[in-house]
């Protein structure tokens, strides 16, 4: 499973990527929507884990652009904010919405579920 983690908190996203790699996930990370789009245009990923609130472009807007580049990708929103509006947007988009701090086993389960849904 190839996963791209996108979060402007570098210490968070880099540590999470390392922990996922210990669990057999091929995880890459970037800290902005701009970098994410550059990576996705160059490489193929199965899942993007997106921070909802980022400077300039947040995860919800980023998802829409990524879908145009790679319609097969699956998405998980990850945020510290937990606002009702963002949650509802996640529900509307059919995307799993996890709130920080997240349990890594729950994230793994959510990613595996997204891959199963992708195959069905």
């Amino acid at each position: 499973m190839r996963v791209l983690l996108v979060d402007d908190e570098v210490e968070y996203v880099s540590t999470l990527a390392e922990r996922l790699s210990f669990r057999g996930i091929d995880a890459s990370w970037v800290s902005s929507a701009k970098e994410a789009l550059e990576r996705i245009r160059q490489e193929s990923f199965d899942i993007a884990v997106l921070d909802v609130k980022m400077p300039k472009m947040g995860g919800i807007e980023l998802k829409q652009i990524i879908e145009e580049i790679n319609p097969d990708m699956k998405f998980i929103y990850l945020t510290g904010h937990g606002s009702e509006n963002d949650y509802q947007k996640g529900v509307t988009d059919g995307v799993s919405y996890l709130i920080k701090p997240v349990d890594i086993d729950k994230l793994m389960t959510t990613m595996n579920q997204a891959m199963i849904n992708r195959g069905s």
Binding site: T15, L16, E18, F22, G80, H81, K100, P101, V102
Partner: protein
């Protein structure tokens, strides 16, 4: 409650709520980093139990990251405390640059999500006025928000503070009317606050600036 008081209370509660949401987001981010680093320590210790060598330098670096996040969260809680106590005094002496810097700091991430940076040009020497700290922060924030929607693509809004004959001027630039139907300052969300604080606001379209004039005493 009069319409004006009701409107001011609503504006104030919305501002307080927005800042509390930003603060809780910041605390959540610190907690998330602490959580991941504690998890990483757990992962490394499990790996050590199964024969992998545990690098003491690595452990020290992880510990350093946790300490840094605890300090960051502590700073965030101090900001929350300052915001909470901004309602204590109806009128007090205020260093305008200090209060503006604090207001900018509190709303930094919210403004950044709009793709705009705010920069302050402080006065040559401290400028002090007597005003209501919370209402003044609320007014500064509302004017910042208004300006952010009228930057016409500019990435940075500069806020310059200077003494003037009427009191203190906060000059926001660039703020343009492009794409809007006039500046409509009377309908702007800050009009009640401007009136309550005996302030004035002017849009100088030719210079692309918005000028907030605050009296020396409210």
């Amino acid at each position: 409650m009069s319409m004006e008081t009701e409107e001011l209370a609503g504006t104030g509660v919305r501002y307080f709520g927005k800042m509390m949401a930003a603060i809780s987001h910041e605390i959540k981010n610190s907690l998330a980093i602490i959580n991941e680093n504690a998890g990483l320590m757990e992962d490394l210790s499990l790996m050590a139990k199964s024969g992998h060598q545990l690098d003491p330098e690595r452990v020290g670096a992880i510990s350093g990251r946790v300490i840094k996040q605890v300090q960051r969260a502590d700073t965030t809680v101090k900001k929350m405390n300052r915001l909470a106590h901004s309602v204590d005094d109806p009128v007090k002496e205020i260093d305008v640059a200090d209060l503006l810097a604090f207001t900018m700091e509190l709303g930094k991430k919210t403004v950044a999500s709009l793709g705009v940076d705010l920069q302050m040009t402080p006065p040559a020497s401290p400028v002090r006025i007597n005003s209501n700290p919370f209402l003044l922060m609320n007014l500064m924030w509302e004017v910042m928000g208004y300006a952010c929607t009228r930057v016409n693509g500019a990435p940075i809004i500069t806020i310059a503070i200077a003494k003037s004959a009427k009191g203190v001027e906060l000059v926001f630039s660039p703020v343009s009317d492009d794409g809007h139907d006039g500046f409509s300052l009377e309908q702007a969300p800050f009009s009640g606050l401007v009136s309550c604080l005996n302030a004035e606001i002017l849009a100088l379209a030719d210079r692309q600036v918005l000028v907030l004039i605050l009296p020396e005493t409210v």
